[in-house]
Subunit: 398 residues, 2 copies
């Protein structure tokens, strides 16, 4: 078990009754000038927009809408200008992880005088973690990224084909998590979000730290929950228990708890980020396609005991032969993803050419330091290129 | 899954290297006048006292020592006087849960003008949760109570034979958790602490909420960890991984995470508190003796599915018959406790008479509201009296 520091100050308000009773005060405690951020029109269709406006009727509300999935740097630039021009006190983010990721960076950008992309890329001599940040309150409408209880954001720059993670000094101040708001999430996004959660857990579970059983056990329990409730949420979109377990699971998967005592380096995320950056595909779907191939590739004499534990504790597999249990666990992972109606190959998300794979692999290895102990098992550019290639067909799994 | 609110601001510094590097600043950020609280002489023998004094050499340090296990109200009164007389800025608690529990109440008592017992009992018109509280920094030397990351304290009043829980507005500001400091913990205290942790998990696991799988899974994983590492810590007191998993498990068991979405009422704790209040026995040992009897008593058609899940996920038991799996899980629990060298009957802790059992049962039922949906399964005074009686012998288990 490795040394670690942990602190997470986000106030969670989980369930059916918090928003109408507590939203006003949660926002107004930070001031009168609110920047309301959201994506497309779905919160207007659902009535959530009106509920929010009503709750904040006595405050000064400015708006930034149109924040896209894989949020783009242009939205940050627009938000930066609004926050400065109106001397915003607090941001209220209403939407999924993309809106929230953008909002967290805008919260920093108010205090940054350069171009927002330099802030994201930590260029220009000032690290984002060392500059001030507006408080962010959020109402979450999608269970996936965990952004509601961490300090991270992922921002894309389409001009550069780059997608970067950036960390501010603070997590959101207050996160309202009402599972009912996710009833209307499409099957596609529900499946992608469920796998995003699973992937966050897997990235932290397959880890170089030894004998970290508290964290390992916590992750195993959370994996079983998402495996159980993901398919139920797909079949019954308004099943409260399914939506609730997915929502709290998403938050808990990425609030720092699941990395306590780990020696943590993520592998599949940097490899996926290139797919999203080059092809703008849904992040969770990219992860879902890559993960079983990655598991198969890193299974070895050194890792098979860990994969066998994964099989026994998460999939309830039995048998004494670690390699056999490990292999069945990887197949079970693949079969579960498939049951979520996720296309299991890259052509299923319209990536039909291998042309860019070497270039993407080079970027993934560089950014994730994958050949320098950045992840669970070292990977070269050739390894990552092969992973992209393996993801073009179902060979090995079907 | 029930609605809930969650926030926990405690900064955790876990591992081998935090104290010497970070203690000074963690304390000094709150001021110059420090009340150092501790128990007996063990921190002087171990050298920890000198390390602390050295780290705080440029601050004004006042001392309150002699805080006993099951901390007594007189220590709170002494601390209250010191805190007021010297206008203390911050408390540094060095010791186990008892020292920390006392320190947290003293932190409130500085701002309370009445007698400290009225503060604990929330009498005199002011609830402790609504008055100010000094910041508390702690260095933990025992893995058990979880006090290092929650707002609760348990304080005893020997004159009244009463032991009460009390909650302040804040959790500790910074908790230093170095597993090496628990190498010298006796086998008795290691066993009692391990079971205290297990009991915290069990009280939250056997719960009236339905379909709360994230939390259930998290608890199952933490149970497996304490079951694995408790006996190892007994056999190898300086096994770092064992001490580390017990320490982080203790903290995580009672920081609010394990009750997220629960409909939580505790049962065995109020029943045990009477044992400690009347006989001053070690809390974790009292819990260990009572718990398997309690499990057996509440096992029914309604509860057997939950106990069977417990058997399968925590004890890896197989079989399709829920009742059978449940019964084997309870026996496994008993056998594990016995393997910790805990005396399995009340006479083993010098409780040889049944004379007070009815009186104690009345108090437990009243304080825990055990017959009014206060716990997992309703219990009457007769039920609790019978539980104490069952704890006099090993009948049913050996």
């Amino acid at each position: 078990m490795e040394d670690f520091s942990f602190q997470n100050k986000t106030a969670i308000r989980f369930g059916k009754h918090h928003i109408d009773e507590e939203l006003h005060d949660a926002v107004a405690q930070f001031g009168q000038k609110v920047l309301l951020t959201y994506g497309g029109g779905s919160i207007k269709k659902s009535g959530l927009y009106d509920r929010v406006q009503e709750a904040l009727a006595d405050l000064q509300v400015f708006e930034l809408s149109g924040i896209a999935p894989n949020p783009k740097i242009d939205s940050i630039r627009d938000g930066q200008k609004l926050a400065k021009d109106h001397d915003i006190d607090v941001i209220l983010s209403v939407g999924g992880g993309s809106v929230l990721d953008a909002s967290k960076v805008i919260a920093s950008a108010k205090f940054y005088d350069g171009d927002a992309w330099d802030l994201v890329a930590d260029r220009g001599g000032q690290s984002r973690s060392n500059i001030d940040q507006l408080p962010v309150v959020d109402i979450l409408t999608l269970s996936a990224t965990g952004s509601e209880m961490n300090a991270g954001s992922v921002i894309s720059n389409p001009d550069l084909n780059v997608k970067l993670g950036t960390y501010g000094p603070n997590t959101p101040a207050v996160s309202f998590l009402d599972p009912q708001l996710t009833y209307s999430v499409s099957k596609w996004q529900t499946a992608a979000g469920s796998f995003d959660v699973f992937s966050h857990l897997a990235e932290q579970y397959f880890d170089r730290a030894k004998a970290n059983d508290v964290t390992s056990g916590i992750i195993e329990g959370m994996m079983r929950s998402v495996i159980k409730w993901g398919p139920i949420a797909l079949a019954e979109p308004d099943n409260y228990d399914a939506r609730a377990n997915l929502m709290w699971g998403a938050t808990m998967a990425l609030n720092g708890i699941a990395r306590s005592g780990n020696k943590n380096g993520w592998t599949v995320h940097p490899i996926e980020h290139e797919l999203s950056a080059y092809y703008d595909i849904t992040h969770g779907v990219g992860l879902a396609i890559l993960t079983p191939r990655w598991m198969k590739r890193v299974l070895s004499d050194e890792t098979q005991a860990r994969f066998a534990r994964y099989g026994r504790e998460v999939w309830h597999l039995t048998g004494d032969n670690d390699l056999d249990v490990a292999q069945r666990a990887i197949q079970a992972t693949y079969d579960w993803i498939k049951s979520l109606d996720i296309p299991m190959i890259l052509p299923g998300v319209d990536i039909n050419s291998e042309e860019k794979f070497v270039e993407m692999a080079q970027e993934a290895v560089r950014i994730g330091r994958l050949n320098q102990n950045g992840g669970y098992v070292n990977l070269t550019v050739d390894d990552v290129t092969a992973l992209y290639h393996d993801s073009m067909t179902t060979i090995g799994f079907e």
